[in-house]
């Protein structure tokens, strides 16, 4: 990932989302939490080529953040009878097509579906930084092998590929050891 790119996206996206989220709640901690969750989840999905729907990415992040916040309210039962629709103000971005709304729900659902398995987490922590970076680069950021040669000092695409498999093998080995 290019951190500068993410930082630039964050800067503009926060400018867009901040005033809108402040219309929902004045609780700064809530705003920051849902925004951080939404933009991070959005970015990772975008890197995986899963965001193909809207042109206005900031609006998608905002709607995600808003839905996350509403979800939290429901969980904490702070939500007092006001329907989501009633809170869907006149912001144009809320008029999302159904497939986009489904997609957003799916992204948000990932948050609750995924239960981190401790053994995988511990196995991951046993990997060296190069392995972790390589797995991130290939699994999430779908970086091409020829790009990784220069970026991560590999000799050629074969070594990129071989190292990736070796890293996965280590990860599995550590996992089996820990799970045993």
């Amino acid at each position: 990932m290019n951190p500068t790119e993410f930082r630039a996206f964050y800067n503009d996206c926060w400018k867009y989302c901040k005033p809108r989220l402040r219309n929902l709640t004045t609780n700064q901690a809530d705003i920051e939490d849902v925004f951080a969750e939404a933009i991070s989840r959005f970015w990772v999905n975008a890197q995986q080529g899963k965001i193909t729907h809207a042109d206005n990415h900031f609006a998608l992040v905002y709607v995600m953040a808003k839905n996350l916040w509403l979800g939290e309210l429901r969980k904490e039962k702070r939500f007092t009878g006001v329907s989501i629709d009633a809170r869907n103000d006149s912001d144009f971005e809320l008029q999302l097509p159904t497939d986009e709304q489904d997609f957003l729900s799916k992204m948000i659902q990932e948050k609750d579906d995924y239960h981190q398995e401790q053994s995988i987490k511990s196995a991951w922590e046993k990997l060296d930084t190069k392995c972790r970076d390589l797995l991130n680069a290939t699994i999430i950021y779908k970086e091409r092998q020829d790009e990784l040669i220069e970026k991560m000092n590999f000799k050629n695409t074969d070594t990129v590929k071989a190292t990736k498999y070796r890293c996965l093998q280590y990860l599995k080995k550590f996992y089996y050891e820990l799970a045993a």
Binding site: R7, E37, Y114, Q116, E117, K121, T129, Y165, L168, Q169
Partner: protein, 246 residues
């Protein structure tokens, strides 16, 4: 102990890189081989974990940026659009401040000689962090942390350099400075005392930085010992060390 490793095959399957024929063969094997099914499930879990882990890393980074923004709020609030005091009121306050500062200067310059040294250490510490790491040449990560350092985005510097498996003396030095800027003096000293740094062109700079960090920690005995060593040496910081020892 697992007899056969199917990592490459499973990855090819999950990446849709198998031919139709190979895919069919693989799926047939799945029907008969429970170990393979478990291995495939593990690969899916690993992918899920890697993704979720990255989301959490980014989320932490975003929270740091948001906190930085909060930290800047007081200075933004200092911008007063409408004067609430008249010119004569301001002049009165200025006069009072001048008298107070005058008395303060007289008092401290006469009775508290350490004040000058304190001002100097702060000045030197600020100088330390105002260093320009140089050109942006190098790999992508180098340009990222150099830019971050010049923007005083020390969290980003730490995040970027810590990710690197092998760090250059330059990176260790700026990592140490970034930790000191964040007030994590123990980590800063740990980095700046690294052997690779001591054998590099950054040795004198690192030593000087450590001395200033000791002063920040108010560890005067250690600071004094190190400053004396620097003052006696041919270090580029010898004169500054002498000034602090006065």
């Amino acid at each position: 102990m697992r007899k056969k490793d199917n990592t490459e095959l499973i990855e090819a399957y999950l990446n849709n890189e198998l031919t139709a024929e190979d895919k069919a063969t693989f799926e047939n094997r799945l029907n008969a081989d429970k170990d393979l099914v478990a291995e495939l499930a593990l690969h899916k879990q690993i992918r899920g974990f890697v993704k979720e882990n990255e989301v959490q890393q980014l989320k932490n980074q975003v929270k740091v940026w948001l906190q930085e923004e909060v930290a800047f709020v007081p200075s933004e609030m200092k911008v007063v659009k409408k004067p609430f005091l008249s010119i004569s009121g301001l002049a009165r306050i200025a006069a009072i401040l001048a008298v107070v500062l005058g008395i303060g200067w007289f008092y401290f310059s006469d009775k508290n000689p350490e004040m000058t040294a304190e001002v100097d250490q702060d000045k030197y510490f600020t100088e330390l962090l105002a260093q320009n790491p140089g050109t942006l040449q190098g790999d992508d990560q180098r340009s990222v942390w150099i830019q971050a350092f010049s923007e005083k985005n020390y969290d980003q510097v730490i995040l970027t350099i810590e990710k690197k498996q092998e760090k250059t003396p330059e990176e260790i030095y700026y990592l140490g400075l970034s930790y000191s800027a964040k007030g994590n003096y123990a980590k800063a000293i740990e980095q700046l005392s690294m052997k690779t740094l001591q054998d590099s062109v950054y040795a004198e700079k690192a030593e000087w930085a450590i001395a200033l960090i000791y002063l920040k920690q108010d560890d005067k005995p250690k600071a004094k010992a190190l400053l004396q060593k620097i003052a006696k040496s041919n270090s580029e910081f010898a004169e500054k060390a002498k000034a602090l020892l006065k």
